[in-house]
């Protein structure tokens, strides 16, 4: 085994030690390409877990700049980053966590004029890490049109949910009236917890170990996880 292979193997030692995870699984994850739209609390957690656990080809999309109020849930940011473009800060932070990773960044706001170029069949899955329903529906519609699997994640208040859509789309679950949702604040760890569960599910999905079109809701008031088949 070469030194590079040895380092790679040791990097992934803990996940490779899992009884339910093999070298073949790691190679499969390393071959996947994931597009993450939104690099806020959800996007940063998901990207970090993917990049450090074998999913090394990631493209991140965002247009926002770092604000001090982001820091309660956006784990890759520091106070020194305030005012910088989030997508640059996140790309840099991810690259430092895995120098073998291939992180691409797109500094743009996703909208109707660019969604066709950004969401393409080059990706194995698209992750919705946006903070608004308009964007979430935009991603869902484009993925559904192009038959690209789509991981929806939403968090607010003390709860959140996620679902890998393949045969269904957000429109099958919700009407556009959901945009009237009354929003709350958010406790940082709730974002982390929901995003971590979604990341775990995503990695298992990429290895064909989890089904699509099952909505999983996490509620930290009722201490409850609910699974709903769509």
């Amino acid at each position: 085994m070469s030194e590079a292979e040895d380092n790679m193997s040791y990097r992934y030692d803990r996940i490779l030690s899992l009884s339910s995870f093999s070298n073949k699984d790691l190679k499969a994850l390393q071959s996947k390409k994931v597009l993450i739209i939104g690099t806020g609390g959800v996007g940063q957690h998901v990207a970090t877990y993917l990049v450090t656990n074998g999913v090394e080809h990631i493209t991140i999309v965002d247009y926002d700049k770092v604000e001090i109020s982001n820091l309660n849930r956006q784990i890759l940011l520091t106070e020194d980053d305030v005012g910088k473009y989030k997508v640059n800060v996140v790309k840099n932070a991810l690259s430092k966590r895995n120098k073998d990773s291939n992180i691409k960044s797109i500094n743009i706001k996703l909208d109707n004029s660019n969604v066709n170029e950004i969401i393409t069949n080059a990706y194995d899955i698209v992750v919705d890490a946006l903070d608004n329903w308009e964007g979430k529906f935009l991603i869902s519609d484009e993925c559904h049109k192009k038959n690209i699997p789509f991981l929806h994640i939403g968090v607010d208040g003390m709860s959140g949910q996620f679902c890998v859509f393949q045969n269904k789309s957000l429109k099958d679950l919700l009407s556009s009236e959901v945009k009237k949702e009354v929003r709350d604040g958010v406790m940082g760890p709730v974002v982390g917890a929901v995003s971590s569960l979604a990341s775990t599910y995503l990695m298992q999905y990429l290895l064909n170990k989890k089904p699509t079109d099952h909505l999983i809701s996490v509620d930290f008031i009722g201490n409850k996880i609910t699974t709903i088949k769509l």
């Binding site: 919705d128 979430k136 939403g154 949910q161 945009k179 949702e181 929003r183 809701s217 409850k224 609910t226």
Partner: protein, 68 residues
């Protein structure tokens, strides 16, 4: 009849009620971000007024969130 609603078992419910009847009884507004399943399977909101619940059904109500 007996229903399990949000993990709580009770036999307080009238037979033949619909999902909408259950929401009215519980004083729960069917806001657009409310999602309901019966026995683990999603029910479209267009069916709330016609989907009749059966004895022993398990009903879960969740609120989806749009933050990220």
């Amino acid at each position: 009849m007996r229903l399990k609603v949000n993990s709580v078992n009770s036999n307080e419910y009238k037979s033949g009620i619909t999902i909408q009847d259950l929401l009215d009884y519980k004083h729960i507004e069917a806001v657009p971000w409310l999602v309901i399943s019966v026995n683990g399977v999603f029910v479209k909101r267009e069916l709330f007024k016609s989907h009749i619940l059966n004895d022993g059904d398990e009903v879960e109500m969740i609120y989806v969130r749009g933050g990220g």
